[in-house]
Each structure stands twice: as structure tokens, then as C-alpha cells.
Symmetry: C2
Subunit: 697 residues, 2 copies
């Protein structure tokens, strides 16, 4: 994307002479941003725009064109794109609105736009976007004002308005950007393309995303997991609640994926999710200048006991650990701080602390191997020295570059200068404890996610599966025009993937039922078989514990007649006969297909408690062994399985094995949109699927 962010030249198609027009603002911004390449305004009704020679068309511009910015009414964009194509333009930023977002003819127009662009190989940003900015080039090819400072934060936003507000707000918050991209309708280039590029961009240290939709879930995960090994990616996803998704729909017509699938996807991609704009930037400024901590143990130095208490509560309630300083640090601090100071964590240097006392405490904690990151709180009191203390922090941060330091300078006028000193010297500074806690949580989460990536992505291949057999059954079901598999068909597929299944056969007559029962060995269970009856027990369609030929024959007649009586319209295939097995601990394993991210595997406690407590966990396929284990251990069911109140532990490895096989099954055969093994009985040794249900596309 060099020609997009660092083009040799830029053509502004629709460059206007009238201030207040978007086409004027874009040209002016490019010039004022200090862009060093050539700039060519295109305007058929002007000779000069903003002092530059204007051209009637992009075709008249001399030489090859790297980047065209298009700011003309939607109706004219297709013709202009054709011209750009013929000219060999490499990138086009289409700011113009009037495409997919207005529905109807807009959708059609967007389709044609991309068709033309593809024909000529022009890559398109937008349409319906704010533009792109590269603070390092420098180039502001947007109609937004550019922030004052450049830095390492890249921001990719699917909302232009949000972006313009943030660009206006950024200077006061001390935010330094590298690149800013307004995605618009994402007709061609989308978040995955920019993630790929920014992942390799040496000017970008942290990537922020605001997205309402994710174009290609699988590629997003793939690219995400590559990029996050190198640098942090933080996502604010709009539309995570039903209300938000509805708002997003009326906004850009995006399809919002399920929230559970999103969470699972972000975990696999190593991406941090936040829920507000403040969190996005509170984390970003820490990532921009601070190293990643080695652990989650946080040290605190404060001159206000109350602030220390509040921040301790926040840290712990958000899952971080209050560090325990080493014996040496405690003794040392006791020998140098006043007697009423607190030498444990938070270290309270008390209200009359000047900069030197802060320095002593900060350095002691920075040297302590028990502390992974440091928060320094200052409240302006009578003798406090905010500026001097800021300088001490800057100095110590340089001397101990491997530990993150975050400053919390609470107050207004009295800490203003000190805050500026910290910002200018690349120390993240916050006015409230909670903001710094968010930031240190981000640093710590990133470290964990990165570690997880290594573990979670070690896949093992499951070999001994009979894919042919499974496909054969599905083919037959499809041939019969069904989407819901019968129980014995679902079980046959499950078995073909090496998952132990209670032997189950379809009987179409009483005699056959008895024959099967004899072969399986008594006792057996008889169940109605019909794709139209899902809750078989409710209509008297299941009879258990049958111990003789007569009982089986009678049971066969009963379930058939019950089904005919209660669901007269049901198409009945007969009844299945299956072996009774001893009761094990009941769990459930299943999978559903998310439209954006693919198959989501579920594990949970079975029986009535699954409905009551929703004690379930999710991961996206394909599963690694590590992920399958995590799925089990993060549920409360794990406590039961491990052996609760003196019971022997259940065979957890069997469950892991079955999870991996289900993952393999839905990955091999993506037409499966739903599968449920419920219940799976787990024993001290082994486990067995007692019932199975599969729905195909």
C-alpha cells in the first residue's frame, strides 16, 4: 500500500474553489499537511484551484498516478472510475456518498464501481468515507483536520463521524497517530487488508479498530493472529447488543456476527476488545510508548491514601494483581520513608512527599523483580512538586526501560504543566485512576493473549476418521430433501468420526425391532424416528429399560401409535432401538455455524442444569488441544468432572478427544450447520454419545 500512504502524487477529482465544500477541504488538507509529492486538482470548470493548475480530467494529468481522491457527486463517480482505470491509477479513495448506504440504486452503483475498479486493477478505499491520513509521510487525504502530533497509533474506523470527533479530541489527550483510515462502505479494501499492511508498518506500534461489521471472519482471525504476534490490535466493535446491531443496520447495512462467536474469534486472533472509545485510547497511549510487562503484578506509588485504595479495588476487580514487593524493597523503603508512610503496596509516600521522595519509592519498585508494571499517582497537595515529580518519572523511565510506567496526575490547573512534561516525554498520563487501570489491563491482556497464541494454535491432526462414510449419509439425506438427520443417521456420522456412540439401529417393523434388540442385548430403549418430531419424550415417543422381545414389540407399537396420534402430520420412518448404557456424568458437546466466523464449538454441563445455569463454553473450530482443555476447565461442570465430594474423577481426556473430533467433523464437512451430542455420558474411563442430532444446510 505504499502508493496509498506514501504516493508520489495525488490527484483530487472534484477539487473545488469554494471554501466549505468537501472538495475544497480535501485539497487544502493535502497541501497544508505538508505533502511533498505532486498534487493535481481536477475540476472541469476551473483553471486553478488553491493556486495549483487544474485539469479537466484525470486523463490529462501528466505521468503515472499513484493516488486519486474522488470527491464528486455519486452519479459521476462511475465515469471517473473508468477514467482512473484507463489512466492506470493505483489507488482511489472514494469520499463521495450515495452508494450501498442509501440502499436501492446505491447498492447497484457500488457494484458497478467495484466492477470497473477490478477490471483495471484500481484498489478502492470507501466509498462513503472520510479519507486516509499518514502523519509520517505527511499526507492528509481527507476532509478532516489533522491532529498536531504524529506517533505510533494507527486507527482504522468504519465510522467517519466518530473518526472526525476523535481527530478533534486527540490533541488534548496527547494522542500521536501514525495512519488513519476511514473504511466507509468497504466495497474493496477492508479491515483485513489494512491490518495486513499495518502489521508490517514500522511507523505503527499499535492498531486501533472501530468496526461495525467484519467482512471475512476467517481471514480476519488468520491475519489478526499474525499481526498480534508483532503488535497489539484493539477493537471497539459496534453492534454487539441487539439494539446496537439494529442501530448499525440502519447505519451502514452491515451484518453483525454473533457476540459469542466474536469473542471466540478475537481470542483466536489475539485481539483485545474494548467497549468504549475512552478505553480504546487509554490503552493505545500506553502501548504507544511503554514496553509489554512480564506479568500482571502491579505496583503503585501514591501520595494519597484514598486514591491508592480506589485503584487497588479497581485493579483487583478487573483481574489484575496487586504486586507484593520483595522483603528487600519493604525493608529498604522502611529505612528511607517517613515512619507513617506505607511501605507495602500501594506504597503511600504520604501527602508531604516532594519529588525526591517519589523518586526513591519509584526506583525501589522498578528494581523489584516482584513488580511487572508501575502506576504513579500524584494529587496536588500543599508541598507537592508536580513538575519536578514528572521529571523524576521521565528520568527513571529512561533508566528502567523494560518496565511500563503509567502516571495518574489527578487534578486540573495544578498538574497541567506536569502533565504536558509527561506527554512530551512519552509517559502515558491519566487524570483518573480508572483510566490507568484500563491501560495496564490492556498491557497485561496483550501479554496473555500473545502467550495464548503460541499455545492455542498448536493443532493436532485427527487421522482415523471416515469422511467418505459421513459424506455418503449426508448425500443420501440431501437426496431425500431433508435437512434434519434422523437419530441413527446422526449417530452413524458421529461414529464415523471415531466418537463412541451407543449402538442404535432403525427398525421399520416390530420383528426387525426385536431382531435388533436381540443382537444388541437387553435391556434396550425404543424411540420414535421422525425428522418432524424433535422432543420425542414429550409425545410418549421414548420407552426405556425394555428387557424382553415382547416388551420391545409392544414398545414399537406404542411409540408409533403415540406419534400418529400426537403429530398426525409427521412423516414416520419407524423406531430406533438402542442399547441401554449405565448412567455417566452428563455433558453436552455441540456446534453451530456463525455466518461470519464459521463453526462455534460448545461444551457444557448436561441435564436440566444446562438450561438453568447456562454453564457452557465456546471456541471456534478448528480446536487445538489447548483450546479443548480450556473449554472444559472454564466451566463449572469441570468441578463435577474432576470429582466433587468424593466422587472419582471423570475421563477428561475422552472429552478432549471428542471435542477435537467434532471440530474435525464440522471443519471437514462445512455443510453441517448444527450438531448436538446430548447427552454425552462420561465415565471414569471413556465416554459415550447417548443421543446425537445433526442439521445440514
Amino acid at each position: 500500500m505504499k502508493e496509498l500512504f506514501k504516493p508520489r502524487n495525488v490527484v483530487v477529482i472534484g477539487a473545488s474553489r469554494e471554501p466549505g465544500k468537501v472538495g475544497h477541504a480535501v485539497l487544502r488538507n493535502i497541501i497544508e499537511s505538508g505533502f511533498k509529492g505532486e498534487v493535481y486538482p481536477v475540476n472541469p470548470r476551473a483553471d486553478k484551484v488553491l493556486g495549483l493548475n487544474a485539469y479537466k480530467s484525470v486523463l490529462e494529468v501528466p505521468g503515472d498516478v499513484d493516488l486519486a481522491v474522488i470527491v464528486i457527486p455519486a452519479q459521476a463517480v462511475l465515469d471517473v472510475m473508468e477514467e482512473c482505470g484507463r489512466k492506470g491509477v493505483k489507488y482511489a479513495v472514494v469520499i463521495s456518498a450515495g452508494f450501498k448506504e442509501i440502499g436501492g440504486e446505491g447498492i447497484e452503483r457500488e457494484g458497478k464501481l467495484i466492477e470497473i475498479a477490478r477490471k483495471y486493477g484500481v484498489r478502492v478505499v470507501g466509498p462513503n468515507c472520510l479519507g486516509i491520513i499518514d502523519l509520517h509521510t505527511p499526507l492528509n487525504a481527507s476532509f478532516a483536520s489533522i491532529p498536531e502530533t504524529k506517533g505510533g497509533i494507527a486507527f482504522i474506523s468504519q465510522s467517519g463521524a466518530l473518526l472526525s470527533a476523535i481527530l478533534d479530541w486527540a490533541p488534548k489527550a496527547g494522542i500521536g497517530f501514525s495512519k488513519i483510515v476511514s473504511l466507509g462502505n468497504k466495497a474493496d479494501l477492508n479491515e483485513v487488508d489494512f491490518l495486513t499492511y499495518l502489521g508490517e508498518d514500522p511507523e505503527t506500534k499499535v492498531i486501533l479498530l472501530y468496526l461495525e461489521s467484519i467482512a471475512d471472519g476467517r481471514r480476519f482471525i488468520e491475519v489478526g493472529s499474525t499481526v498480534t504476534r508483532k503488535k497489539p490490535v484493539i477493537l471497539l466493535k459496534g453492534g454487539i447488543t441487539e439494539a446496537g446491531a439494529k442501530a448499525a443496520l440502519s447505519h451502514t447495512g452491515s451484518m453483525a456476527g454473533g457476540i459469542t462467536a466474536l469473542k471466540a474469534a478475537l481470542r483466536k486472533a489475539g485481539i483485545i476488545q474494548v467497549s468504549s472509545v475512552s478505553e480504546l485510547f487509554d490503552m493505545a497511549i500506553a502501548f504507544n510508548s511503554q514496553p509489554i510487562p512480564a506479568g500482571s503484578r502491579v505496583g503503585i506509588v501514591t501520595n494519597a491514601g484514598g486514591a491508592g485504595v480506589v485503584i487497588s479495588d479497581l485493579l483487583v476487580s478487573r483481574g489484575l494483581k496487586l504486586a507484593e514487593p520483595s522483603r528487600y524493597t519493604v525493608d529498604y523503603l522502611r529505612s528511607v520513608l517517613p515512619p507513617v508512610a506505607s511501605v507495602y503496596n500501594p506504597v503511600d509516600v504520604i501527602g508531604d512527599a516532594k519529588a525526591d521522595r517519589y523518586g526513591v519509592a519509584i526506583e525501589a519498585l522498578l528494581r523489584d523483580p516482584n513488580i511487572d508494571s508501575l502506576l504513579v499517582i500524584l494529587t496536588p497537595q500543599v508541598v507537592t512538586e508536580p513538575e519536578e515529580t514528572a521529571k523524576v518519572i521521565v528520568e527513571l523511565s529512561r533508566r528502567y526501560p523494560s518496565k511500563p510506567i503509567l502516571a495518574i496526575f489527578m487534578g486540573g490547573g495544578k498538574v497541567e504543566k506536569a502533565t504536558r512534561i509527561l506527554i512530551e516525554n512519552n509517559i502515558p498520563v491519566y487524570d483518573m485512576p480508572e483510566r490507568a487501570v484500563t491501560a495496564v489491563l490492556g498491557l497485561s491482556n496483550y501479554r496473555e493473549l500473545r502467550e495464548l497464541l503460541t499455545k492455542a494454535l498448536e493443532y493436532v491432526e485427527v487421522f482415523d476418521v471416515d469422511k467418505e462414510k459421513a459424506l455418503e449419509i449426508i448425500e443420501e439425506v440431501r437426496r431425500q430433501g431433508r435437512r434434519v438427520l434422523l437419530e441413527h443417521e446422526a449417530k452413524e456420522i458421529v461414529r464415523s468420526y471415531g466418537i463412541p456412540v451407543v449402538p442404535t439401529k432403525l427398525a421399520v417393523s416390530e420383528d426387525r425391532a426385536v431382531e435388533i434388540a436381540r443382537k444388541l442385548g437387553y435391556p434396550v430403549v425404543v424411540k420414535i424416528s421422525s425428522p418432524d418430531i424433535i422432543h420425542k419424550s414429550d409425545i410418549g415417543g421414548v420407552i426405556t429399560n425394555l428387557k424382553s422381545d415382547d416388551e420391545v414389540a409392544e414398545a414399537f407399537r406404542t411409540v408409533i401409535s403415540n406419534a400418529r396420534r400426537y403429530v398426525p402430520t409427521a412423516s414416520i420412518y419407524g423406531a430406533t432401538v438402542q442399547k441401554m448404557v449405565p448412567k455417566g456424568r452428563e455433558v453436552i458437546i455441540g456446534a453451530t455455524k456463525d455466518p461470519v466466523f464459521g463453526h462455534l464449538i460448545m461444551f457444557g454441563l448436561g441435564g436440566i442444569y444446562i438450561e438453568l445455569f447456562k454453564d457452557v463454553s465456546f471456541r471456534l473450530a478448528p480446536l487445538s488441544i489447548y483450546e479443548a482443555k480450556e473449554m472444559i476447565t472454564e466451566t463449572k461442570a469441570y468441578t463435577l468432572l474432576r470429582g466433587f465430594r468424593g466422587e472419582p474423577p471423570a475421563d477428561i481426556n475422552s472429552i478432549v478427544n471428542i471435542l477435537l473430533r467434532v471440530s474435525k467433523l464440522v471443519t471437514d464437512i462445512p455443510q453441517i450447520v448444527e450438531i448436538d451430542i446430548n447427552p454425552l455420558f462420561v465415565y471414569e474411563i471413556g465416554a459415550i454419545a447417548v443421543d446425537a442430532r445433526i442439521i445440514i444446510e
Copy 2:
């Protein structure tokens, strides 16, 4: 407290001539705050301080003294308090440190200070505090700078340093204070005293508290519930996690109550709890100027789709409702807004909206009865008119004074003037969506809590209890030097409070066991009876389903011999014989005594799932019928009790009845520190306590 906040005169004991000294700052602050009464510096080594005649001692000051501010070394404070007493000083603000907070001699000194003050009837703020401020008097009797603007927000803080930071930060956030109190060590006046006064203070609209400890939990609830009927009270409680409590301990030596008890107490008191300083003030500025909404349905007007999406997500995930505008509003908006605008909620007036279009949309939503409060989001785009839009909001807010309006003006320089206009005209304004969501959540929560107060505090008296009987049993247990009651004793107490109990008698011999069993009727259960054996089943101390005299006799021998074998040191009282009852749905009811707030009643699902899922709810005694019902309905057990999967519903009223009786029991007999009815079997009609355990002080 008129003489504290609006005194006729103030004496500053320890008024210093040296700038930089606290005693100098306090006197200067009083003078500069514009205080209209007399000010008398006391300084034995000066004739004049800051141009005022100085006195050698408070005794020399002419006339009666309302308020003395003491800023001298701790060692001299006791003598000075004695003088204040003799002079008849009404209130003393003791800023001096060196008391309880330093431990040892400090604790003793604080004790003596209060002894002297009580002797003379001097009421004391502090010691170890920042002072007090009344912006309306005006009087700044503290060593902190005073904020510029007065308003309706009162702030009571147990941390002086946090207070000084907030006073410095307040002007930029547009915070207008009424009164500010630094509590210090709370040796005499504490949060309850100030709550009482501020509840009646016409200058105060909302009361903010930062507390690390609560001096008297029962009075706090009592006073709180009275005050919150009139105005909102918001609490930031420090020390709610173990880490925070530890930090608070090293800070002021306060005892932190349990978090569960705190939550229950705040609910009873109608007090809103927040977890950060930002939340405290984000809510406060809304309460300061806006009416309480009639419901929790929120309307949104935005010129940025993305911001609308983000705020919808935040609103819904924090429990608020996105309003559904009436058919009329939707039709009207469709007729007046541009076709691409969204006329549902959030109403997106789109990027090119000027002030007039905002006005149309805002007014439509303000008139809509389906909308309880309104959020207006503005992002600065090319043609946006921030100042004009601000004026439109101000104007409409005046015309529709019964609905709260909160503004979110995102950005920096471009919205600065507009933000000022809003602040000056009493419209709460935020720079980020999440801050406004916190505020509207506060408004909405307050409304709910106030409604709850009316319902939750309708107590019914439970009459038919035999308190004498219960006290007799406890007296006997105490006489025997025990704290743990035997099962039959605990059951007898429970029964004396009208709770159905499985008939249970203590047998001291085989013969007696058989005799009891015959009277109760077979089948019966035999259990070991020993205060030293809590988990009776684990040592083979329980034998169930005994159907004959012989079985009972043998069971008696077995449990006694098992107890002797496995717990040789246990003192054995014999064995209890109780009737076998049919199994009902198992729940648990209990109570523990919180050191700060008193008895906390618990209800939850019984059986092994209580340990696994912690499906329990809590309320403080005394319980109202409404609270008892809430306790049941907020658990997941409720789903089971209501009749899950075709089961008949259980007798919920019986549980309510038993909860009220347990509440009555622990209120009548506060020496009970722990009681457990576990399990309680609940049937279609009725419920019965199968086991009971009581521990006394």
C-alpha cells in the same frame, strides 16, 4: 450544623504568618473565600496575621465563638481543645494530624480529644482532615483552593488528598459544589451526621460520598433511606476488594464491612454505588441540573451513526432500554428529516445536520411519551454548528423541563465553546458516550431505588413466635459454655418461631431412641448428636430409612461407635431421632451477622449445586415481604421452584413466610451469629426444615 457551615465567626488557632504553612493557607482561604463574618487568628507569637489582629488564645477572642479551626501540632491540640471547651466554642475543625492514623500514642490522644470535646459539648470535625467548605456562605475553612463555581453538589470525603485533587480538577469539568467536607478520622462527626444535615440542606441537590469505613451501619441505612427519598446519594466505597481493604487499613485503620452486606445495605438505604471517581461526578452533574426520568427508556439523537451504535451497545449492556418512539414520532420525523436519516432510535440526523435539524428531532423526542430521557450526540463535521446546536438544546430543555437531557459533544477545539454554553446553562455535557451512559444510568437507578424504598420498607409484623422459649434454649446452651447448638436445640428454636420442622428428639439411650421412633412413626432417621461433629454423614453418623425398633436400636449403637472411633475427642450427647419426610425441592435459608450492617439473610438453591453455582441472594434483616419475594425471584432456583419442565410449582409463599420468620428470629435475638436451615424441603403445599444449625455469640 448552622454554626459549622454558616458561622457568625471563625477562629483560626495556629494561624501562621508564613506562606506555605497550612496555618497560613487556612486563614488566607477563609479571607479570600469572601466570608462575611468575623475572623480571628490565634497565634501567641504574632500581633497581626494577614492584616488581622491576632490573639494569644481562643479565650481572649471577644464574644461567643461558633467555629474554631485548629491547625497546630498534635501535641498542643488537647490543651487548645480544653480552651475551646471553656470558651463555649460550638464546632471545632481539627486539621492537625498525629492521631489515630499514626497508631500508638495517636490513638490515645484521639480518645482524650473526644473526651474533652464531649465534656464541653464541642462538636468536632476530624482530626487529620482538610477542613470544610461552603460555597454558598461563602466559607473556605480548609487548606485547599476553592473551586470557582458554586452549585448543588455536596461532597463528603474520607480522603483529604482525593478531595484536594478533585477540587483542582472540578472547574474544567464544570462541577458546581454546595458543601465540601473532609471527614478525617471521624472521631466525633461522621458521614451519618453530615448526611442527616445535607438531606435537609436546600442548597444541596445531590450528595456524594467517598468512604473507606462506615461508622454505624444500622444508622447509615436508616438515615440514608430518609435522605434518598428527597435527594440522590452516590457512594464511592474504598476497600471493597480484599486488596483495597488492606490498602484502606494501612491508610486510616478502618474496618471494612463485607461487600455483600454493603450492597444489601445500600439497596435498603436507596444509595447508588459507583466504582470510580469519574462515575461519581458523571452522575453528579446530571443530578445537579436534570429532573429524575419517569422510566428507563432512553432516546438518542446523533449526527454520527457510529456513535449511535456504540452508545446503543453501552446502554443496553448496562441495563437501560433503547426507547421505541411512537408511531406518530416516526411518521413525523420521516416527513421532516432527509430520506437517508434514520427515524428510529437512535435518530440519526446524519452528518450534514445543522442546529435547526437537531432542534426538530430533539423536540419530537421530548414530546414523545415513549421516551423518558434524551441523549444528544454531536460530532464536529464539515457543516455542523456546535454552538447553535448547544443553544437549541438549552432552549428546548427550558421548554420541556420534566425530561432529562444530556449532551455528548465529542471532540476538542471544535466543540469547546459549545461545551461552555451548555455548562453555563446547566445542561450536563460529556466528551464521550460512555460517560453520559453512566449518568443516565444513575438517573434511572435513582428512580428505581426510590420506588423500591416505598415497596421494600413495608414491613409486616410476625406475631406468633415464642421468643421466651427460644431465649430459654440459648440461655441453657450458654450456661453449658457452648456456642454451637445441637441439632434438636436449633430445630426447637426454629420451631418456636413458627417454622415447620421435621420432628426431632434427642435420645441418650437405645431404649429412648426406640421409644421416640415409635412415637414419631416409622420410617425414621438416626443422627449422632455432638457439638464437635459438624459433617455428620462423613463419619457415618447418619442412618436413614429405619423401619423397625431393632433397626433403630442398632443404628443408635452404630452412630455412637462411629463417632467414638472417628472423633475420639468429641463430646457426645447421644443421637437424635427424626421422622423421614418425603423429598421436596431443596433450598437453603440462612443468616450471618455482618459486623457493620447486622444480620444478612441468605436464600439459595440447596443440594450440591449451591457449592457449584453459588446461586444465592442476600438481604439485610429486617426483611419486608417485598424483599423476601425478591430474594427468591432473583435466584435461578426460582425457575426450578416455579415449575420447570412440567413439574408443578412449589409453594413460594411458604418460603417467603419462613424467610420473614428467620428475619424476625435474628432481629429478636441478635446473639445468633449464624443460622442455617439446610435443606428446607419445599412441596406443592408447604415446606419443612429438615436440618438446622445455629451458632451464638
